[in-house]
Symmetry: C2
Subunit: 400 residues, 2 copies
């Protein structure tokens, strides 16, 4: 019995091991995020990744996905270490190499901010990647600038996407979406790994979304207390840290910067429609939680709300549907399918933020709220989910 039981346990474990050791299909292509002229990492049609790094003197080399699996590489006669992973989800993945215990970026890739570090990114081509593909259509601008925040007493940095016709229509004014990154990410995320600009360029070219401005700022403002040790000032210097919170998040420092400094600066320096009906906020993961808290506390400022893998609005939070509908024109809640499977860990912790997001959203919809629940197929808590969320959310905005 014991032997049979052990045999069953081994048999159950076999498929996962076999999948790693099985010879991959040899149709690997360089990841689209590689540096110019760099062949590795590569991805094949099974969505498996082959990494390679020259490290002739190393004792051990591995590829480690952020918050995920680690795959050992093996050394060849040429001093190069090579390995192939199991199939990965379509879309963007953060990772690093571990060379003799040192966690370092892969010298083959370009670099992205996530997991509170600048590190390697790779892209598994998605079947629906057309919606964020660079095309010969009119393009908006992704601009960065600095402004002085009085409440933070610091020069802060943000990105702003202006739509393709912004420069050509010097008298036209536009609505604004404030779009937030997730925990351990920053203001670069939506423009780089999120492809926010290309998503909007393509939607606008197809006539599926009205042109609007997108503002992307870091929520790690000086004094922020958002569950990690350090807050950042501008220009690459470290600002005074807020310290780790005793439990849960406190977004009040960012709320102050956003509502008292950033929004007034944007309205004074860009051709915005500077009123509540033309102002939206959305965010992913921690950015969704911030969007939830800040929009509901400032319904005089925001009319469109997007929560991407970052909780939902509970029925208990909408005590007067008519009053809510006077203010909120769109409530969008999106998740990756793997986040809402039974027993899955969602953004914001096991069980998600504020109860079951689908049930919450469907209940609000049934009560008469213009609420939308979206599920990204075959993705988890990752950027392909959020690219798709933006692609679904943007066409709903500023319809009046």
């Amino acid at each position: 019995m014991k032997i049979a039981f052990l045999g069953a346990a081994l048999f159950a474990a076999l498929p996962a091991l076999a999948q790693t050791n099985e010879a991959p299909v040899e149709d690997f292509k360089s990841s689209s995020l590689n540096q110019s002229g760099k062949q590795y990492p590569m991805v094949n049609s099974e969505r498996r990744v082959r990494a390679r790094v020259v490290a002739p003197g190393a004792q051990s080399v591995a590829l480690e996905f952020l918050g995920g699996s680690r795959y050992p590489l093996t050394k060849g006669d040429d001093g190069a270490w090579v390995g192939v992973t199991r199939p990965q989800d379509e879309g963007f993945h953060y990772y690093q190499l571990i060379i003799d215990g040192a966690g370092v970026p892969d010298p083959g890739t370009t670099y992205y901010y996530g997991g509170s570090r600048w590190g390697s990114g790779l892209e598994v081509p998605a079947q629906d990647q057309d919606f964020y593909t660079l095309k010969n259509v009119p393009h908006g601008q992704l601009a960065q600038t600095y402004y002085y925040s009085k409440s933070a007493n610091a020069n802060l940095h943000f990105f702003v996407y202006t739509p393709p016709d912004y420069e050509k229509n010097p008298s036209k004014r536009y609505p604004v979406l404030y779009l937030q990154h997730g925990g351990g990410e920053d203001e670069t995320g939506w423009g780089a790994q999120g492809h926010a600009g290309l998503i909007m360029d393509n939607l606008i070219a197809e006539g599926k979304a009205s042109p609007f401005i997108i503002v992307m700022a870091s929520s790690y403002v000086p004094g922020a207390n958002t569950g990690r040790g350090a807050a950042r000032g501008a220009g690459g210097t470290n600002a005074a840290a807020g310290g780790r919170g005793g439990g849960g998040f406190d977004f009040s420092a960012f709320e102050k910067v956003l509502t008292q400094d950033l929004i007034p600066f944007v309205d004074a320096n860009y051709r915005t429609l500077a009123d509540q009906p033309h102002r939206a906020m959305a965010g992913l993961s921690m950015g969704g939680m911030q969007t939830h808290n800040i929009t509901l506390a400032h319904l005089d400022m925001f009319s469109h709300i997007g929560l991407f893998s970052g909780g939902s609005v509970g029925t208990n939070e909408v005590t007067d549907v008519n009053a809510f509908n006077q203010k909120v024109k769109v409530l969008f809640v999106g998740y990756g399918s793997r986040e809402i499977e039974p027993g899955a860990v969602r953004g914001g912790g096991r069980g998600g933020v504020g109860g079951d997001p689908r049930a919450n959203t469907e209940a609000l919809k049934a009560a008469g709220v213009n609420a939308h629940f979206y599920v990204s197929p075959q993705t988890a808590h990752e950027w392909l989910t959020w690219r798709r969320c933006l692609h679904e959310f943007a066409p709903l905005l500023f319809k009046d």
Copy 2:
């Protein structure tokens, strides 16, 4: 005699070794280019760099400056490798770590494109760094966008700096400077390691420069033949390579893209003064050579010329001073002091491009050309030279 001779040789070699081994002054501060929360690399008042990386299983770790010295690190009991370099020039330095033979970015820094790779950067504070320091002054925007280039048959990417008052004056039109990176660099260089935006913001705030637009594009266009193997398309993908030239540079593919596609696109999509008197071009190193060749071949398009560590204009190239002065309002030639010391290797190869740059420029000045020769104190072929060149060049522009 033999022993005495050996002793003399050892003695002669001692100062260099002693400088490395001598205990550094313990006033190290984190480099301003470090990632948020990362302590290393650090720089002290002697301009020496202390690097540190945790690599418990490594056999050897070194710090290697791009095109320069390699410094071994030594392992401590805590598994971290630490080392201190000799004094470095003030300003920006590209480097990487070598861990058991693998050249990788330092996980402590942010990343910059140079030497045909994305790699680590560190900053040795300069005595005159005030001119590129982030201050509470009105800031311009650094925007990136795509456009379709017909001659390259590709969607290409560029950056554009618009001055602080650009958004506030929707009817005002501005002159344009086309500003080029060096060999192995790309369109990100001037905005990131060059601090072009901050330099202009500060000059404009002090009333020392007129506001103008700066366009920064990669000269590695598809089909380019500029002495390195690969040309780049947009969006991180590799375009068809032009191949290495047989000898010297051929800038004709970039010249075509610039004059036939990029300039018309910029003039159609930004509020430019779209004529020769309001168009300048400058570049560093290879970008200076491109500026030299392209402006002299298109004096109908450019009126202000800046060559930063990238050659000069010979008297034999200005056969008719009056005709030249009708077209060229400013000719600026700048170098780092270490580049023009006797026997120094200048950008463009030993001896520089087109003869002695100071003699050439002084001769043109004596002949009546509005020519300026600038020397950056105590710097070589590096970004502090080029930051200073831009800072000197910009106030000379568009004075009419």
